[in-house]
Structure formats: structure tokens, C-alpha cells
């Protein structure tokens, strides 16, 4: 039985071509999404994404520790590349976990399966930033930052103190905002929502026949979808998301939702996750993939919007408040880095290629970096980014 079903799907692959790949459209379907992300088999929930929750929590602790100047380079690097049983975190459940951030950084099926060289380079980039946070920032903790000099810089009006490198960049922002792309977005859009993962091996045949994983009550395909969901809602209430529950995608979905130009995006994404999961239960894979494409578009948009937002905020402060400007530009730097992990719907491509991203970032750090970046450059990059998405600089800027 399983074999013949597999044969049919193979036949479909060999002898039919895809006709539904041109735009995000909806097909008529009888599948109804439940009111919340709740799915059960024989009265038991089939939703599981604990691995994603774990990695988000590890990232949250790393985020805090990156601004604790008593941490050593080894301690911070160990939080990034945690080994099961090592006491790297305050939370002992995290210490006991066999998960870590590093192994899932730049590790998606679609983008890195045949490119371990690029994957390794990205992992190394994060490690380099972590090391530099200790070796350049912690060592200059009480120094005053200046052009070409690392140290602290306070936002105007007695505001927050920011710790920047010689070019004005906060490495902690580059790391955390960069992980939004390299970890959460890459895993979600380019791995778990990819047909290459959802339909891996016998997943379709097993899902068609409700053959669940050994010792579990979910099918592999259901679980893969939940894992995508978990990278956004892993520390939130999955049946009634509150948003702003982590330092990563969940937080910035909240930020974008709270911009009236984009209000409704949170519901759109949540609904797409619900309907896609219901489609898997109903074995309607075309409907599933349409929801996946919608999520790719909207989640990518979060990163695009926040990139432009911070470039524009940075520009506004640049003349009179370097501290605030550098903080915004540092966040923007991390979001722009994340653009290379976005995914244009119905394509194999990110919204910005790695080369395009690296060109922008190199330009931002040229010379004395944020100390002498021009407002024109910030506007140019804002325009470039907005133009490729479905929003304007003005919409994103506030």
C-alpha cells in the first residue's frame, strides 16, 4: 500500500509540471482552520516544538550575557555552541539539552544543504562577533567611544549607555538581530516549510495513511510544520499569541504589528500557520504549500521592514544623538545581515543575496563606520530594500 502510493506521487513528479508556482493564490478548498493552533489525534495534542523553544531560550540568555562584561569569551562561545550537560546557562533545562544555537545557524535544507562552506563561514562570523564583543568591547567597557575608538556612548538626555566598537557598531545587536535571520528565519522558511523537508523520504505516504513517528502521535510532516511554527511562537502562547515574548522574531513581529501601516500581519501569519497545518491533517498539500509561501512572504517582510525602520531611525538621530543613532544602526546592521536568509515566495531566492547584503554592510562600516556614514547612504539602502518588498520607506520608517 505504501509503495503504490509512493509510486503515484513519483509519477506525479515525473510526468506533471507545477502549474501553481507563479503567485500566492488561493485554491478553493473545504479545509477549515481551527480557531487556534490546536491539533489533536485521539484527544491528545499533536503539536510539538520543544527544540525551537529551547533554542530561543538559549538565544535569550546569550542576549543578556553579551552585555555582561564579567563573561569570558569561552563562556559566551559555549552558550552559542552548547554541549549537552555543560553548565553554560542559568536555566538548567537548557544545560541538560542536546540542542544548541550553532548547529542550526545557516543550516537550512534549501540554502545550505550543498553549501557547507558558506554555512561554516556564517557560523564563524557569529563566533567572531562574540569574540570581538569580549576582546574589543568588554576590555574598553569604561572608555569613552570616539571615532576609531571602542567604548561606551550614551544616548542624549541621560539615555541608555551603548557599548560600541571603533566604528560605532554594537556587536551584540549584530549577533542577536543576525540570528533572527540565520537561525529562526532560515530554519523556518528555508528548512521546515520547504517541500524538500516536509515531503522528505516517505513523509507524504506516511501522512496520507496517518502513520505517526515511532513513540509519537504526530506524523513527521505535521511535526516539521510545527517546528517552523515554533521558531516564531516557541516562547509564546501557541493558542493565543501575546507577541513580544522573546528577543527575536516574536518580538519584531509585535513591533511590525504595532505599526499601523502593517497592522494585521500577525493575524495573517498565524492564520497561515493554522490553515497550513490543517491542510496537512486534511492531506491537502497544495493548500499547505500556499500557506507556506504566504508565511515566507510575511516573515521576510518583518526583516525588510525592520531593516528600513532602523536605517531611517538612525538617520534621524545621526546629527544630534550619536548614541541613539549608533544603536539603531547596529540593530539595522543585524536585520540587513538577516536579509540573506529571507525567502521570496515561489522562488529559490532570498530577497537579497548574500553578496548584496555583504556589499551594504561593508559600505556601512567603511572608514570610521557609523561615525561618518552619510544620510544619503542610509536613504539609498532604505530605498533599495523597500523597493524589493511590498512596502514603502515611509510606511516602514515610523
Amino acid at each position: 500500500m505504501r509503495r503504490s502510493i509512493l509510486s503515484l506521487s513519483i509519477l506525479a513528479l515525473i510526468f506533471t509540471s507545477c502549474s501553481d508556482d507563479d503567485s500566492v493564490t488561493t485554491v478553493s478548498s473545504d479545509v477549515e482552520a481551527p480557531a487556534s493552533y490546536t491539533f489533536e489525534r485521539e484527544g491528545q495534542s499533536t503539536v510539538s516544538f520543544s527544540g525551537q523553544t529551547t533554542r530561543i531560550l538559549m538565544g535569550d540568555e546569550l542576549n543578556t550575557s553579551l552585555l555582561d562584561n564579567t563573561q569570558t569569551e569561552t563562556e559566551l562561545l559555549s552558550m552559542f555552541a552548547h554541549q549537552q550537560g555543560d553548565s553554560d546557562f542559568l536555566n538548567n533545562e537548557l544545560n541538560a539539552s542536546d540542542k544548541n544555537i550553532r548547529s542550526k545557524t545557516a543550516a537550512s535544507r534549501d540554502f545550505f544543504f550543498t553549501n557547507s562552506t558558506a554555512s561554516n563561514a556564517i557560523k564563524t562570523q557569529f563566533e567572531t562577533w562574540i569574540s570581538e564583543q569580549v576582546n574589543e568591547i568588554f576590555t574598553a567597557w569604561d572608555d569613552t567611544a570616539a571615532e576609531g575608538v571602542a567604548g561606551q556612548i550614551q544616548e542624549a538626555g541621560g539615555g541608555s549607555i551603548r557599548y560600541v566598537n571603533a566604528k560605532g557598531l554594537e556587536y551584540n545587536q549584530a549577533i542577536i538581530k543576525g540570528l533572527i535571520g540565520a537561525l529562526m528565519t532560515d530554519q523556518m522558511l528555508n528548512n521546515y516549510l520547504s517541500p524538500a523537508v516536509l515531503d522528505q523520504a516517505d513523509n507524504i505516504a506516511n501522512n496520507d495513511n496517518d502513520i505517526t513517528e515511532e513513540g509519537k502521535n504526530y506524523t513527521t510532516m505535521e511535526h516539521k510544520w510545527d517546528e517552523a511554527f515554533g521558531y516564531l511562537y516557541g516562547t509564546d502562547n501557541p493558542t493565543n499569541p501575546q507577541l513580544n515574548q522573546d528577543s527575536f522574531l516574536n518580538k519584531y513581529l509585535s513591533r511590525v504589528e504595532n505599526d499601523e501601516d502593517f497592522a494585521g500581519i500577525a493575524q495573517e501569519i498565524y492564520d497561515a500557520f493554522k490553515l497550513g497545518r490543517a491542510a496537512i491533517v486534511a492531506k491537502e498539500y497544495e493548500l499547505r504549500d500556499q500557506q507556506a509561501e504566504l508565511i515566507k512572504e510575511k516573515v521576510s517582510e518583518i526583516i525588510g521592514i525592520r531593516s528600513v525602520y532602523y536605517l531611517q531611525q538612525g538617520k534621524n538621530f545621526l546629527a544630534n544623538d550619536k548614541g541613539a543613532a549608533f544603536h539603531d544602526l547596529s540593530e539595522g546592521f543585524g536585520f540587513i545581515y538577516s536579509l540573506k536568509f529571507t525567502r521570496q515566495p515561489n522562488s529559490d531566492s532570498p530577497y537579497f543575496t548574500a553578496n548584496e547584503v555583504d556589499t551594504m554592510l561593508t559600505s556601512l562600516l567603511e572608514g570610521n563606520g557609523f561615525w561618518d556614514v552619510s544620510e544619503q547612504t542610509l536613504d539609498d539602502f532604505s530605498d533599495q530594500i523597500a523597493a524589493r518588498f511590498n512596502f514603502t520607506v515611509e510606511q516602514a520608517a515610523d
Binding site: 503515484l8 513528479l13 506533471t16 535544507r109 550543498t114 557547507s116 517541500p195 522528505q200 523520504a201 504549500d289
Partner: protein
């Protein structure tokens, strides 16, 4: 047998669309018209049995050279034994992909080529003189890597190495362990060869059905598993650090012989390509193989014959391997990017083999990839 392959990325079906509307019942193996028995016969008679025969003969040379050496250890005899080891290890590269029959049930591969070899276990065996080389605990203290340690790894210089077999207080123990290692490899391989020659060959060739236990299904799964694990991961990915936070140059194959890693890897890619094409081990004769099966099914991917795409990818992998240092440990330590780039070129064929070829042949994967979540 359930195997788990931990991959850096999960390996999957590359479906570009997911509609699985019904359809006519074509390609219903094994009635697709391809002469499956001819392919199995070619595999058995022209590849597998000749490989095992050659390996058995080369291991016989090791046993003889070893006997000669321990009788009166000299530099010349050590050199002679080392040459025998090298020749046999090259043949081994053609044998590691076959994991059916007695090879599977005796965990033959685990007894022949687990590296890095465990020096502590070896030394403790040598000291205690109380060991069962067939024990699972000794999988990393036997086989080619263990012999390599005994011939190249005991000390820095040859004269120091020789002294372990001459002047050392434990010289007899070292000689015994070396002798036992060589004998064990020979005995295992002889049994395997005998099994193939006394019945297994016939049942292997006769089992043409497309089921989880069909010979083609088993061999193809072994082949792809070897390509991913024994070849791609063990020789390249693991030392390059693709599965760990840092590169691990001490995990290379031929760590003690050092300048031998590339030679072995090149033998490996030749063996992989020859098997794919159904090319005989002892001649350039070319009969039914996976290439022919795919061509028979007229398997096209993006306008090209899948078999050509696969062969091109193997060629690219060979070219890339050729650019590496003879010592993979040295390569990892000096320019690891070349190593990961080689891994990536090899990886491209995984997609072609594991997704496209398996779809065309209607074969299910019998080992799973764990992505760690």
C-alpha cells in the same frame, strides 16, 4: 537493519510540487522491463566477488608479510608489510559499500575500517593480552586503522617503531597483537568470500523483487549510505568540522600514514563511479548497472539524462579531490575551506542519488536522517 545517519542538514525529497493526483500504473517495478537479474549478476560476478577476492588476496599478502616481520623485525620487513597494508587498504575502498549478507550480519565494515582508531583500547589490549577482537568494544581497535597505528603510529621514527617489536619489554605482546589483527581481517574476509561463492551469490542474484529485502533495494541503499557516511562524512565532513564546532584533523582516514588520505579517497570515488556504471572490477568491461537502469527508464532531470548528471558530479568530485593535499589532516589545518568545498561538491551528488535516482527506481530509503530536533 536500521541505520541512523546524523546529517548536518536533513536529506530529503526535493519535490517542487506536491500534487499527487492518481494516474496510470506505469513503472510498476519489477515489471518495468529492465533486466534486473542481469544487473545483479553483473554486480555479483564482475564487481562484488572480484573485489572480495582481490581484497582477500591482498590481506593474504599482509598476513605473509606480518609473519615474516614478527619472525625477525627489520626495517625492510616493516617496509614490506607497510606496502602490503597500503595495497590492501586501496582495495578496501572498493569493498566498503557492500553491506549485504554475511557482511551485514557480522558487522564486517565495523571490524575493518572504524577510524579514528582508539589508541587506549589498543594499548590496553596489548598490555592485557586478553581481548576478543570480534567484540563490539573493539570495533575501534581493529581493522585497517589499528594496523596502521601499529605500523606507523607507535612512535615518531621508524627505528623507534621497530623497537616496539624488538627491544621493548612488551615486544612479544606487540607482535601478537599485530599478528592477531592481520589474521582477523583475513579470516573475516575469507568467510565472506566463501559465503558468496557457496550459495549467497545465487540467492542474491535471484532476489530481483522490489521490496525492502530485495537485493537491488538493499544494495542501492548500502551504496547511498556509503556515499553519504563512509565516503562523504567520514573522509571529508567530519575532519572538516562540518558536524562539530571545530575542524577535527585527527579524524581523517590514514591519520598515521598521513600522506595516504587522498590516495584512498580517490580510490573511493573510482569505486563509487564504477559501481554506478556497472563497470567490472578486473577489466574495463561495462555491463548492466544503475546508469543503465536509469537510462532504460529514460530518467531525465531538467532536460538532461540523470545518469550523465551523476557521472558529471562524480567527475567534479574527483577533480576537486585531486586539488587537495595528500594529507587530509594537513589540508584541514592549512586550508579547511578547500576541504568543505570538496564536501559540497560531493554533497551535490547526494541529491541526485538519494532523491532523483531513488524516485526513478522506486526504492525507499532504509536509513533515516536525524536532524536533532
Amino acid at each position: 537493519m536500521k541505520r541512523i545517519l546524523i546529517t548536518f542538514f536533513s536529506v530529503c525529497l526535493l519535490l517542487s510540487c506536491s500534487s499527487d493526483d492518481g494516474g496510470t500504473d506505469i513503472n510498476n517495478n519489477p515489471t518495468d522491463g529492465f533486466d534486473r537479474q542481469a544487473m545483479l549478476t553483473n554486480w555479483a560476478d564482475n564487481i562484488i566477488i572480484p573485489v572480495y577476492s582481490d581484497l582477500n588476496a591482498k590481506l593474504g599478502n599482509i598476513v605473509n608479510a606480518k609473519t615474516n616481520f614478527i619472525d625477525h623485525p627489520t626495517q625492510a620487513k616493516l617496509d614490506n608489510l607497510r606496502m602490503a597494508w597500503q595495497e590492501a587498504y586501496k582495495v578496501w575502498q572498493h569493498a566498503e559499500m557492500f553491506n549485504v549478507g554475511l557482511a551485514e550480519s557480522t558487522n564486517y565494515i565495523f571490524q575493518m575500517n572504524v577510524y579514528p582508531t582508539n589508541v587506549n583500547d589498543i594499548e590496553s589490549n596489548i598490555q592485557s593480552q586478553n581481548y576478543d577482537l570480534g567484540s563490539v568494544n573493539n570495533n575501534d581497535a581493529v581493522g585497517f586503522p589499528a594496523v596502521e597505528y601499529m605500523l606507523y603510529g607507535l612512535a615518531e621514527t621508524d627505528s623507534e617503531i621497530l623497537s616496539f617489536y624488538t627491544s621493548s619489554t612488551n615486544a612479544d605482546n606487540y607482535k601478537t597483537y599485530l599478528s592477531d589483527l592481520a589474521d582477523r581481517m583475513k579470516t573475516l574476509t575469507q568467510s565472506l568470500l566463501d559465503d558468496w561463492n557457496n550459495g549467497f551469490r545465487d540467492s542474491f542474484v535471484a532476489n530481483t523483487e522490489n521490496s525492502a529485502t530485495g537485493s537491488i533495494n538493499l544494495m542501492v541503499n548500502d551504496y547511498i549510505f556509503y556515499y553519504e557516511k563512509g565516503f562523504r562524512a567520514n573522509k571529508f565532513g567530519i575532519p572538516a568540522g562540518n558536524f562539530s564546532p571545530n575542524p577535527l584533523p585527527d579524524r581523517v582516514e590514514a591519520f598515521y600514514k598521513t600522506d595516504f588520505s587522498k590516495t584512498l579517497a580517490l580510490e573511493g570515488i573510482d569505486a563509487i563511479q564504477n559501481f554506478f556504471n556497472g563497470r567490472a572490477y578486473n577489466s574495463s568491461a561495462d555491463a548492466e548497472g544503475l546508469k543503465d537502469y536509469l537510462d532504460f527508464l529514460n530518467t531525465i532531470k531538467e532536460g538532461e539524462d540523470l545518469s550523465s548528471l551523476i557521472n558529471n558530479q562524480f567527475d567534479e568530485a574527483r577533480q576537486k579531490i585531486n586539488t587537495l593535499n595528500e594529507s587530509f589532516a594537513h589540508q584541514v589545518e592549512t586550508s579547511n575551506v578547500a576541504m568543505t568545498e570538496t564536501f559540497d561538491v560531493i554533497q551535490l551528488a547526494v541529491v541526485l542519488l538519494k532523491v532523483d535516482m531513488l524516485q526513478a527506481l522506486d526504492i525507499s530509503v532504509d536509513f533515516v536522517d536525524a536532524d536533532g530536533d
